[in-house]
């Protein structure tokens, strides 16, 4: 049980008559790479916001990193990292300033921040760019930097919302190498993506359709179950029947 870091039970979110997330139950293990897939409007973002402690559920239960989703949202926020394609770093701050800023937000001491800054810059090979504005970095580097920043406070879980959108195929793979390494260090990865080849890199994936989790298993089991040769086909079979217009 101690190895379960995300546990939800009939987690539900209603907006008026609209059931955005409809009784989803699942668990994610420590160090697992968990792919959270679904068509646009299936309810992924709403579910993810609840799991991050940003949105109160309408009903159901969930424990994130051992904390209750209703009562301990601040503890949850301290235990997770978050990165999205849309917002990740401040473009008008330098690489080092961003690291210091996010380190400060997460309550790291000055000593910790300088140690971590150096380590991070070295690991990413950003020595030349450390004092440049983030706006000047190529997108691929920004994404790698923002993933590292999301891991700065050693969170138990990191939520990645379409982290590789618009990134070239080589950088996309380097990014996944970083994900693999983090998972190897027992960080749990919760990731959404529209690239179906990336679904294959996950240990297990869930596919949401119209607010419900319609499938949850390893990519190979899902392909067997749906008699499909690729995850693309599995996704297509499930999401094709979606009724929602988002």
């Amino acid at each position: 049980m101690s190895d379960t870091v995300i546990q939800t039970e009939k987690l539900t979110k209603r907006f008026g008559d609209f059931i955005a997330v409809n009784e989803i139950s699942f668990s994610v293990n420590k160090g697992e790479i968990f792919g959270f897939l679904g068509a646009n409007g299936a309810g992924k973002t709403t579910a993810m916001r609840m799991l991050c402690g940003l949105l109160k559920p309408s009903s159901g239960n969930a424990q994130i990193a051992g904390f209750d989703i209703y009562k301990q949202t601040e503890k949850i926020k301290q235990s997770i990292g978050y990165m999205s394609q849309k917002f990740s770093l401040y473009e008008d701050l330098t690489v080092l300033e961003n690291i210091r800023f996010f380190g400060g937000i997460y309550g790291l001491s000055n000593t910790q921040i300088s140690l971590k800054s150096k380590k991070l810059v070295d690991e990413l090979g950003l020595q030349q760019e450390a004092k440049k504005l983030v706006a000047e970095l190529p997108l691929g580097w920004k994404q790698k930097l923002s993933f590292s920043v999301a891991l700065l406070h050693d969170p138990k879980i990191v939520f990645l919302d379409e982290p590789t959108g618009g990134v070239d195929p080589v950088t996309r793979r380097q990014f996944w190498e970083m994900i693999y390494e983090a998972a190897h260090r027992d960080v749990t990865i919760f990731v959404t993506t529209h690239y179906m080849d990336e679904a294959e890199y996950c240990n297990r994936i869930s596919i949401m359709v119209d607010g419900k989790i319609e499938a949850l298993d390893s990519p190979s089991h899902l392909k067997q179950k749906f008699k499909a040769t690729s995850m693309d086909e599995v996704f297509y079979q499930l999401a094709r029947g979606a009724k929602r217009e988002e």
Binding site: G38, A39, N40, G41, Q85, P138, L139, G140, E162, G165, G166, V167, D168, P169, V170, T171, R173, W176, E177, Y180, H184, H194, Y195, M196, D197, E200, Y201, P219, S220, S230, M231, D232, F235, Y236, A239, R240, A242, E245, E246
Partner: protein, 302 residues
């Protein structure tokens, strides 16, 4: 006959002289679906803005439907449809009002060209009185396409219409493009998704302002040149690390459920023993189908 001809176009921005488009040339046949394939920052949007006469190039020139992009911009504007990457309709107008507005701008009516958008617009009709800002992403995209088509353009420019769109909606979108092509419209579309390249008649692979290759997808794939093998093992993370240490391979990288490994001509005899010695189990190996993504990765590496 070409619909679009681009000759040595460059575009430089700002004091820092950031080169967004670097001496790019290509031509698009009439009635083709032509794809600009590449990641963010490849220069795709700048090229679109130059060709739709919204931006002047800093070097080179181009024609659209035989008209010069600088001298004849007015003729070009009435003949092209442009769907920018960022949603650009009026959020406070309803679906129908937006469409009516764009039709009026081009001196036409919805009724006159309804045939062209019928297939797409029927899916929107029940929301016609809804404000555009309240539409879902998929619906916005369909409406933007209708607005770009309402003056019956002969060339359609679509800047990343499927970015951030789920695989099912992407498929539907490409079905729509095929039907538009059947009506004789030339379509120039950009995308960061390599798998969409196969749906184009010809493609330009782009990176950092430069074109790496312009060809039919089949031609690019046939000219891949190396031997590509797909490999699988019980522990994929280990496999990818071990493959990086095998120096006789030209390249290796994750590819869906497999790792792709490229060799110059044949698989060296010590390849499989090397993997086994490193403790990998459940090894499976077979020739791989080369995809555009493999070609792009190879081009990026060289």
């Amino acid at each position: 006959m070409y619909s679009v001809e681009v000759k040595d176009i460059s575009k430089v921005y700002g004091k820092e002289k950031l080169v967004a488009v670097d001496h790019v040339s290509f031509s698009v046949n009439k009635g083709d679906i032509f794809g600009l394939i590449g990641p963010d920052g490849a220069g795709k949007t700048s090229i679109f803005r130059v060709l739709t006469t919204l931006l002047l190039p800093d070097g080179g020139g181009a024609t659209v439907e035989g008209f010069d992009i600088v001298k004849d911009y007015e003729q070009i504007r009435s003949r092209v449809g442009y769907m920018p990457g960022r949603f650009s309709l009026y959020q406070d107008l309803t679906v129908e009002e937006n469409l009516h507005f764009f039709a009026t701008l081009f001196g036409t009516t919805i009724r006159e060209n309804y045939d062209l958008i019928k297939d797409i617009y029927v899916q929107l009709e029940k929301f016609k009185d809804r404000r555009t800002g309240k539409l879902s992403g998929g619906m916005k995209q369909k409406l933007a396409l209708c607005c770009a088509l309402i003056h019956k353009p002969t060339v359609l420019f679509l800047d990343e219409p499927t970015t951030g769109v789920d695989p099912v909606s992407r498929k539907e979108f490409w079905e729509m493009l095929k039907r538009l092509k059947a009506q004789g419209i030339t379509i120039i579309v950009s995308t960061p998704y390599m798998d969409e390249a196969d749906l184009c008649d010809r493609i330009a692979l782009m990176q950092a302002g430069k074109i790496l290759s312009v060809e039919t997808p089949a031609h690019i794939i046939n000219n891949y040149g190396d031997l590509l093998v797909e490999v699988k093992a019980d522990n994929m993370y280990e496999l990818l690390k071990v493959l990086k240490e095998y120096k006789k391979a030209l390249n290796s990288y994750a590819f869906g459920e497999y790792a792709h490994v490229s060799f110059e001509k044949e698989i060296p005899g010590d390849f499989l023993p090397f993997l086994q010695q490193r403790g990998l189990s459940g090894i499976f190996m077979a020739p791989a189908n080369v995809t555009i993504e493999d070609c792009f990765i190879k081009l990026l590496k060289s």
